[in-house]
């Protein structure tokens, strides 16, 4: 969604327009849910965090700074809520069992599931700060500049965290093979 679209919707949300809020929700529920899922490794927890994020957004429109992009605000809330959630529950869950993908043979399905589970399991071994950078880069498709806006850190630090995170992920994945 373009910056102009977001700004218009937020103005309407501030005026109490529920349809505008639903449009924002429709645009951002998927990336927010995916970011939370990658941070938490649980669909149930990701759903709870997503609900909390949108509730916070709704309650804090007045605090939103229009000079910032909306995505950087909502992604920041998502990552903070996910990290808070991890702190509260202080646990790592085994991967959830999921329904088999349609259209894949048993071997292909097994390989695909294994690869997906290995990646997610490796993600859960790195610190939440590093995981946040990886989630923003690889699952939300943010650029270095956008990541620095979301996390409010310098681009230099983004690069350094991303590089360290990848090194750690490489090590974690190597152990699973």
């Amino acid at each position: 969604m373009s910056r102009t679209d977001d700004t218009k919707l937020i103005e309407r949300c501030r005026a109490g327009d529920r349809e505008a809020f639903e449009a924002l929700l429709a645009a951002y529920e998927r990336p927010v849910f995916n970011a939370a899922y990658r941070m938490l490794n649980s669909r149930d927890d990701a759903q709870d965090v997503t609900q909390t994020v949108f509730l916070k957004v709704f309650e804090n429109f007045d605090k939103y700074d229009p000079s910032r992009r909306f995505f950087s605000w909502i992604y920041r809330i998502t990552l903070n809520e996910s990290i808070n959630w991890l702190g509260k529950t202080n646990r790592l869950r085994p991967l959830e069992t999921e329904a088999a993908d349609e259209g894949k043979g048993p071997d292909e399905q097994f390989d695909s599931d294994q690869a997906r589970q290995s990646v997610q399991a490796a993600l859960m071994t790195i610190s939440s700060d590093y995981r946040a950078v990886v989630v923003l880069k690889h699952f939300l498709g943010c650029s270095y500049t956008e990541i620095s806006q979301v996390l409010e850190i310098s681009e230099k630090k983004v690069k350094s965290r991303l590089y360290s995170a990848r090194q750690q992920l490489k090590g974690a994945l190597a152990k699973t093979r």
């Binding site: 529920r18 809020f21 929700l25 759903q47 997503t50 909390t52 646990r91 650029s143 590089y163």
Partner: protein, 253 residues
């Protein structure tokens, strides 16, 4: 020999598509002479491909309804999530605690005249067992995605207990009828995890629920003998059936 930090940064920037033309020329010159550099680039490229190719998760079908119903000013306003989320964080515990709550709710809400004494004897008998988490097995699950009601209903088993787990959002008041023709199955309790105000009544072979807004609740059935069972569900809005489905339990599945 360790790769200079500068080239490590350039390799990462190249993989991320954030390298300038001048830097790329410099990186290519470096890689032409460095097997270690090429190995690092290949390793990182492979890792990034694995990350980028991970499937996107589809949010639960009912989530948007749930969020719209939970924001202030909604018809069915929910309290801020937090307490229940933490309390019920472990799935097994969710059932244990909700079942404990269900025993009390069942005794207070259900019209006892419609429920057999036998069923209530069993509910009372189970009070002592709910302090321990109930380990459930998912038997079947269905999604409901109608204008009037959306969400997921699952059928779980735990020994001779069958648990109908409703996670739904209803736009307005709806009725749900759960029919189980087998006379060896009887209503055994009711629990409400999120929200309040769900009404429930039970009679032989049928449980009837009335709900509005976002609701998470469970209906407990005693399945004498643990035989296979089918529960037929009908969702009614303004007396009209808006959705019909069924859930199956097969022992040893």
């Amino acid at each position: 020999m360790a790769i200079e930090q500068k080239y490590q940064d350039l390799i990462n920037a190249d993989i991320d598509g954030e390298i300038s033309a001048a830097d790329r020329t410099e990186l290519e010159a470096f890689l032409a002479d460095s097997a270690e550099g090429r190995a690092l680039r290949d390793d990182l490229s492979s890792l990034c491909r694995a990350l980028d190719s991970a499937d996107e998760e589809t949010p639960p079908v009912q989530m948007r309804h749930v969020i719209m119903n939970s924001i202030p000013g909604s018809r069915a306003t929910e309290s801020s999530p937090g307490f229940f989320q933490v309390l019920f964080a472990a799935p097994a515990l969710r059932y244990a605690l909700s079942f404990a709550a269900g025993v009390f709710l069942a005794l207070s809400i259900v019209n006892s005249g419609q429920v057999s004494e036998h069923a209530f004897d069993d509910v009372t008998g189970l009070v002592g067992t709910v302090a321990e988490p109930v380990d459930t097995t998912l038997a079947s699950s269905v999604s409901v995605d109608e204008l009037d009601v959306a969400g997921i209903v699952s059928l779980r088993s735990a020994g001779t207990l069958l648990i109908l787990d409703f996670d739904l959002v209803a736009k307005d008041h709806i009725e749900i009828e759960a029919d189980y023709a087998d006379p060896s199955i009887w209503f055994n309790g009711f629990a409400q995890l999120q929200g309040e105000g769900t009404t429930v009544s039970a009679e032989s072979g049928r449980v009837r629920l009335g709900v509005a807004g976002k609701r998470r609740y469970a209906v407990y059935l005693h399945n004498q003998g643990g035989r296979e069972a089918t529960v037929r569900l009908r969702f009614l809005a303004n007396g009209q059936v808006v959705h019909e489905t069924s859930l199956e339990y097969r022992p040893g599945q």
